[in-house]
């Protein structure tokens, strides 16, 4: 299957943008990642990933409102593009296909 390659961290960031829907910007994404995955990442890493995703055309952005706690600075709000959405769906479909292909009892059982 031909698609743009997406790194694992990029995928997670892209998903988080979708999760936050309309409220996705640097710090919010960092916090959400922390909350959802327990991964503590630096703001700069998130910014770098967002920057790359935007370059790849999976995200678009616009400047949002300024708040006092940001010293009057505006946020850059991100939304997932069509391409981003399709990529996410592709990845998911591929995963599902793989899961479905696994024979029962092929994986060692784990107790949840």
């Amino acid at each position: 299957m031909k698609r743009t390659y997406l790194g694992e961290f990029e995928e997670v960031v892209l998903l988080t943008v979708a999760v936050l829907h309309e409220r996705a910007y640097g710090v919010a994404i960092t916090d959400e990642l922390d909350r959802q995955t327990g991964r503590s990442v630096s703001i700069s890493a998130v910014h770098a990933a967002l920057h790359r995703l935007e370059e790849k055309g999976m995200l678009t952005s616009h400047m949002g409102d300024a708040t006092a706690e940001r010293g009057g600075r505006r946020k850059r709000l991100f939304t997932v593009t069509m391409l981003g959405s399709r990529t996410l769906h592709d990845i998911r479909a591929m995963r599902d296909q793989l899961w479905n292909s696994i024979a029962p009892n092929a994986l060692p059982a784990i107790s949840l």
């Binding site: 910007y25 640097g26 710090v27 960092t30 630096s42 703001i43 700069s44 890493a45 910014h47 770098a48 920057h51 790359r52 400047m63 300024a66 708040t67 006092a68 706690e69 940001r70 010293g71 600075r73 505006r74 946020k75 850059r76």
Partner: protein, 893 residues
């Protein structure tokens, strides 16, 4: 409880971020970081939050955050023709608007650049001497170190005993090519069929180049000439062969075709008949090897030349006898040191010692230790000094520029503001101001190019002979380019930074000007610097002048007034001439002598005195003349009498220094003691007071006087009592008549002793002229700068002066108000300049054995002078400002 008041993250971290982060990303990134910081303050406290903030900032040091976004607009920096035209227009308008400062800058820069250019030409010319020979770094002169006996000093000599070069060629392995040569002085006769031969005179000593040499054929292996006729390999192999340079051949034979000149006969030293075997093209680059008549060395043994040149002589050294060596490629000097030492030991087992050495060709023009008969030495420290002077003068001019343009920057602040508002970047502003400076410098360079020729011809006495100015050589072009670039940067960089740094919001409101006009620390420092340089020059001038005056006026120990030296040719007829001149009415006395008591030529010989306890063996200067010598020069007898007339050396007179050196307490004790010279003993009959025999650089040493038959030159004392200069002329004319009667074929030449003594100080005279010129230029430029600044401050303070006058200030107090600022600076400059000048002049004076003291009043005088000059310069403006009607300056706001 959370802190309610908002705290801000650390300032320096913020600045760091603002510095490195790409502007288009800064807002979102900084916003995010602030948000996180606020949260952190609440969670973990301000200190930890600060640390986190800093860490977060540092983590943004990533490519994506550093990379700047390409601008949407093309910036109009340098390449847009519209902007260039605008720059040029504003430059010209500004130059035209501030005429005074433009003129001052242009004049100063022109002077500075001209001085630089002239000095560059001189130094470049001197430093290029003999650098054009192929493999010139492998060519050396054979020199050595000689010692007359065990106790005597070792002297470096630029020449070798006659037999040494041939022996070196044999014995020193790996030495390469050796070419011996001998300078000879001779008339040249060209046989002219049955008629009288055509005669070419001796060269005039010290005026003409040495041109006649007797050389090994290998000379032409070492130095490359272009051969117009003859075979370089064989031309000089046989006796009685001659190679001429083209110019000399033309001089001797006119326009005869070259192949007809070949084989022609010439006669040197009356009896040496040689035939032309080759003609070479003259070198046209600067060289000390000015030879044009090359006689084959093989001629020496088979002709009368052997009388003057004994090729088997080991123990006598004579400056005419020299040799050049060309080492093989890759040879080093070190590999010969030991061999030369062995050579010296092997050949000089006796008293006289000589150890050969090699002197690089490049040093020939500069090293005064190694003397010879042909090279004109240039004084390296003087050359370096000159370069320093050039740099300082240019620096002073650049400082004027800096001072005037920063002083005026207030006026241009508005322009800067508008440009910035219209979107000009700082870099393009700097480029604009720099290009203005470059424009001015370029004009200065063009003007100075026009000036160089007249200046070089005006200062001909200062510039080396043969200096030509080739403007269109690559090197000169490169130098000029360097001058333009350096000067523009030097004078333009700081002002352009200042001008471009103005914040448009302030300058457009008209606030920047005032603060800039008052705060002038840098300007003051630069003025102090300028005046320090000027003061050093002033002090230098004063001291050099004083030393020169001292040398002119100090008692020499003999009289030099109205004494003329005449040098008859070889032969016995000199006595006849002396007799004839003696009988002339305007002549007081005539002495036969070697040389006058003081002058360039002197001769040192070894004398021995067998004292009671020990023998005193020392080098003593010989002054040889007949019994008229001492009375003619009015040497003062301290004891005994003059030697009596004789036809050979019978008695001697010594000077006080020698008498003391021999250990006599009283001069009378020395009388009738015997001195051994050349194996014979002669009695001392008199002691004279010490007198100077060389320049004031040398100490007075031991001297003896006596008569020897080969004292053939004439010293003629003209009677001056109650006579005019014109009468001296008639006496000289009658002397010339006598000369013509005795020597119908020779040119009559004479020198006044005063002139030849003055010639000893030629270098000092030149130094003094140079220092004077440099001082003049330095003072002129710095005063113009001061003038410009004074004008500017007076203008700036018109309102203040108006108010002061209205409130009752007197003209004097206002002049004082405007002048004191500048005077303070001059005084500071004096304090800095004095020790520098003292040190430098002390170095210069150390060269003299007899010198003036550096008195404190010289510094005071220099200070007074410069204060006076500064006051004079400033007063123009300050008086004008003080006299202005306050109504005019206060009327309009």
């Amino acid at each position: 409880m959370k802190p309610t008041h908002p705290t801000d993250p650390p300032r320096f971290a913020d600045q760091l971020l603002e510095w490195f982060c790409a502007p288009h990303l800064l807002e979102e990134i900084q916003g995010d970081l602030y948000e996180r910081y606020k949260r952190d303050v609440g969670l973990v406290g301000a200190a930890q939050a600060n640390r986190n903030y800093f860490l977060n900032v540092v983590r943004f040091f990533r490519p994506f955050a550093l990379k700047r976004k390409a601008s949407e607009y093309t910036s109009p920096i340098l390449l847009s023709p519209v902007m260039l035209r605008n720059y040029l227009k504003t430059s010209l308008r500004n130059l035209a608007k501030y005429k005074a400062s433009t003129l001052i800058n242009l004049f100063g820069l022109t002077l500075g650049v001209t001085a630089c250019l002239v000095i560059y030409l001189i130094t470049h010319y001197e430093l290029s001497y003999d650098t054009f020979h192929p493999d010139s770094n492998r060519i050396y002169r054979l020199v050595g170190e000689s010692q007359h006996n065990k106790t005597a000093e070792k002297h470096p000599v630029g020449f070798t005993p006659n037999a040494v070069p041939a022996a070196i060629r044999q014995e020193i392995t790996g030495i390469g090519t050796v070419a011996a040569f001998h300078n000879i002085e001779s008339e040249v006769l060209i046989p002219n069929g049955s008629e009288k031969p055509i005669k070419f005179e001796h060269r005039r000593h010290g005026v003409d180049n040495a041109e006649i040499v007797v050389v090994d054929p290998t000379y032409f292996d070492i130095f490359t000439y272009k051969w117009l006729a003859g075979n370089p390999k064989t031309a000089l192999n046989d006796p009685f062969k001659l190679v001429l340079s083209e110019r000399k051949a033309r001089k001797y034979f006119g326009n005869l075709p070259i192949d007809q000149i070949m084989g022609k006969e010439l006669i040197y030293q009356d009896s040496v008949h040689v035939h032309v075997a080759g003609i070479v093209q003259d070198w046209n680059q600067p060289t000390d090897l000015t030879f044009t008549d090359f006689i084959s060395l093989a001629t020496v043994r088979t002709s009368q030349l052997k009388k003057g040149i004994n090729l088997d002589q080991w123990e006598d050294i004579w400056s005419a006898s020299q040799a050049f060596v060309k080492l093989p490629a890759g040879a080093t000097l070190e590999q010969f040191t030991a061999q030369f030492q062995r050579f010296g030991k092997a050949h000089y087992p006796n008293e006289f010692k000589f150890v050969p050495a090699l002197q690089p060709l490049a040093d020939l023009h500069f090293d005064e230790d190694y003397q010879d008969n042909y090279s004109r030495k240039a004084h390296l420290p003087t050359l370096y000094g000159l370069m320093g002077v050039a740099v300082f003068i240019l620096l002073i001019a650049a400082i004027n520029f800096i001072n005037l343009s920063t002083a005026q920057s207030a006026q241009r602040a508005k322009e800067t503001g508008i440009r910035k508002v219209m979107g000009s970047s700082r870099a393009s502003l700097i480029a604009q101001f720099l290009s203005e400076t470059t424009f001015l410098t370029l004009m200065a360079v063009l003007i100075s190019l026009l000036l160089v020729h007249p200046i070089l011809s005006a200062f001909q006495s200062l510039t080396p002979k043969g200096l030509t100015f080739t403007l269109f050589s690559a090197q000169t072009g490169f130098f000029l380019l360097a001058v333009i670039v350096v000067t523009s940067l030097l004078s333009g960089l700081y002002p352009s930074f200042v001008l471009s740094s103005y914040v448009p919001a302030l300058t457009l409101k008209g606030q920047a000007g005032l603060s800039i006009g008052r705060k002038a620390t840098l300007r003051k420092t630069l003025i102090v610097f300028q005046f320090t340089i000027s003061l050093v020059f002033i002090i230098g001038t004063l001291i050099v002048e004083r030393q020169l005056g001292y040398m002119r006026n100090k008692e020499l120990g003999f009289t030099s007034d109205a004494i003329v030296s005449v040098r008859p040719p070889w032969g016995d007829k000199g006595k006849v001439l002396a007799q004839r001149i003696r009988s002339l009415s305007g002549v007081e006395r005539v002495a036969m002598e070697w040389f006058p008591p003081m002058g360039q030529a002197f001769m040192v010989t070894k004398l021995k005195y067998q004292g009671k306890k020990q023998a005193v063996d020392m080098d003593v200067s010989a002054k040889i003349g007949d019994e008229n010598f001492i009375p003619l020069y009015q040497l003062r007898l301290l004891a005994g009498r003059n030697y009596v007339k004789s036809d050979s050396l019978r008695e001697i007179v010594i000077n006080a220094h020698y008498a003391k050196a021999l250990g006599f307490r009283r001069f009378n004790d020395a009388l009738n003691k015997l001195i051994e010279f050349d194996g014979k003993k002669y009695p001392i009959v008199g002691v004279v007071a010490d007198f100077h025999e060389q320049s004031f650089h040398e100490k007075m040493g031991p001297v003896f006087m006596g008569y020897m038959p080969h004292a053939r030159n004439l010293g003629i004392k003209l009677s001056t009592k109650g006579k005019q200069m014109s009468e001296l002329k008639t006496t000289l004319a009658s002397i010339e008549k006598e000369w013509k009667a005795v020597y119908p074929d020779n040119r009559f030449e004479y020198t006044f002793l005063d002139d030849s003594i003055a010639q000893l100080y030629e270098k000092e005279q030149k130094t003094s002229q140079l220092v004077n010129t440099a001082t003049g230029i330095a003072i002129l430029i710095s005063c113009m700068g001061l003038f410009g600044l004074a004008m500017f401050t007076a203008e700036q303070r018109t309102k203040e002066i108006g108010v002061r006058k209205v409130l009752g200030a007197s003209v004097a107090s206002i002049v004082a108000l405007l002048s004191t600022d500048f005077l303070k600076l001059v005084v500071i400059a004096l304090v800095i300049a004095s020790p520098i000048a003292w040190w430098a002049m002390n170095q210069w004076l150390n060269d003299f054995a007899y010198k003036v003291d550096i008195d404190w009043w010289i510094f005071a005088l220099a200070g007074l002078l410069s204060v006076g000059i500064a006051l004079f310069t400033v007063s123009f403006q300050s008086i004008k400002a003080a006299l202005a009607n306050p109504v005019k300056s206060l009327r309009s706001e």
